[in-house]
Symmetry: C2
Subunit: 229 residues, 2 copies
Amino acid sequence: MVRPTLKKQTPNLKEVIKEAAWKQIAEFGASALSLRAIARELKITAPAIYNYFPSRDDLVTALIIDAYTSLGDSQIEARDALPQNGISKRMRAVGLAYRNWANTYPQRYQLIFGTPIPGYEAPLMEVLPSAARSLSALVSVVEQLRQAGKLNVDAFPKVRAEYKESFEIWKTHGGDVDLLSLSVAMIIWSRVHGIVSLEIAGSLPPFGPSGNDLYLYELDSIANQFIKE
Amino acid sequence: MVRPTLKKQTPNLKEVIKEAAWKQIAEFGASALSLRAIARELKITAPAIYNYFPSRDDLVTALIIDAYTSLGDSQIEARDALPQNGISKRMRAVGLAYRNWANTYPQRYQLIFGTPIPGYEAPLMEVLPSAARSLSALVSVVEQLRQAGKLNVDAFPKVRAEYKESFEIWKTHGGDVDLLSLSVAMIIWSRVHGIVSLEIAGSLPPFGPSGNDLYLYELDSIANQFIKE
DNA sequence: AAATTTACTATACAGTGTATATATACAGCG
DNA sequence: CGCTGTATATATACACTGTATAGTAAATTT
């Protein structure tokens, strides 16, 4: 047998490969991802995967984009579940959704923010659209706060002129918002990311169930610091 | 030739192996670490390394412990460079030293806080002493603030009784300090870690030289929030 | 019906960590 | 000095990885 008849072939093999990859990542961790193992599970040969992904890294990139998309969906959904006029509540909801998503899909989180794949480095330009979108919910909420005059940014460092270019990339994918809002969103992101990443890594054991109390405290800290009135 | 004469053997082969490993990590990244490549550089065979490290993971563990020790040294040194009565300044110095160390040794930082080694998971009990020590400088400064009545912890979440046990481990290695101080230290750590990890990962481009301004802003935020008067 | 493209298999290569067996150099002891 | 035991290395081999290449059968197009 050299090749099975098409009737027995899987139609959406590209999707099926990714599903098998996620399944493996969920079970054995992202670092154990192996083309051959995927092929084994799908009962095809390893080089066959090359018809759909030029290399293992391209498969990983596709998975990362999927993960960012999943995070972005979760973030946008959390924001839009609350009325547009309750900006503070929306910000809190987005924050809660972030940790919730990370704890629901720790492997996806690690795939994005850790680097558990040997020798893999994400190609920025391919990943950026979905990455920017995943932050867009937070960014939009901060921007709304700013437009309402409720953003407290006394003493916030100015974005230096020579770095504005870096932000342009984000703006093209994440919506045309004020540089200041983007900056504040990124520092808020760094805070929640700080706790969540330590929690996912298991370095933050001693608070409530899975660091919940501490996380709520940080969300309050963020609100107190950045929301006026 | 089956084995070279002892005169040509390297005496501290264990240390030499680690040095070669760091050299490789610095050059090709932590994920590219390979026993065989180390052996090639040292002109020995790969299995010879097994006389000094039972497995590749044990070598990685040794490297991680070294990295934590290096971080701890840097932290303690930064703290002790300033007079004991200037607690706020000491805290800031420790914070600055953290980012400085991370930017000086990004590979070490990634080795500790990322998981770039395929299939490796750090054995907590072996790593914890050096890990706890690396945080001890910050913890001690926070504890000093608390003892001086300068720690602002209104509304700080209580450590729940069932999790106090987790802290005991830290206390045995990081000094006998108050649980509250330890908790506050960990949230401060999560903040600086949040920024620094994003910066190391290259996700935080648009602020001053390498995120310096933003980091200083966060150190101020921390001081404003947690230091009374 | 013939030609072309697609989608796979088969095979092979260089790399990895590591288990096993083996040989030598050295230390200690008679 | 010679013998023995152990530490320290080599040699070899196995199973695994990603991936390059070639070939073949099926499906599609002409």
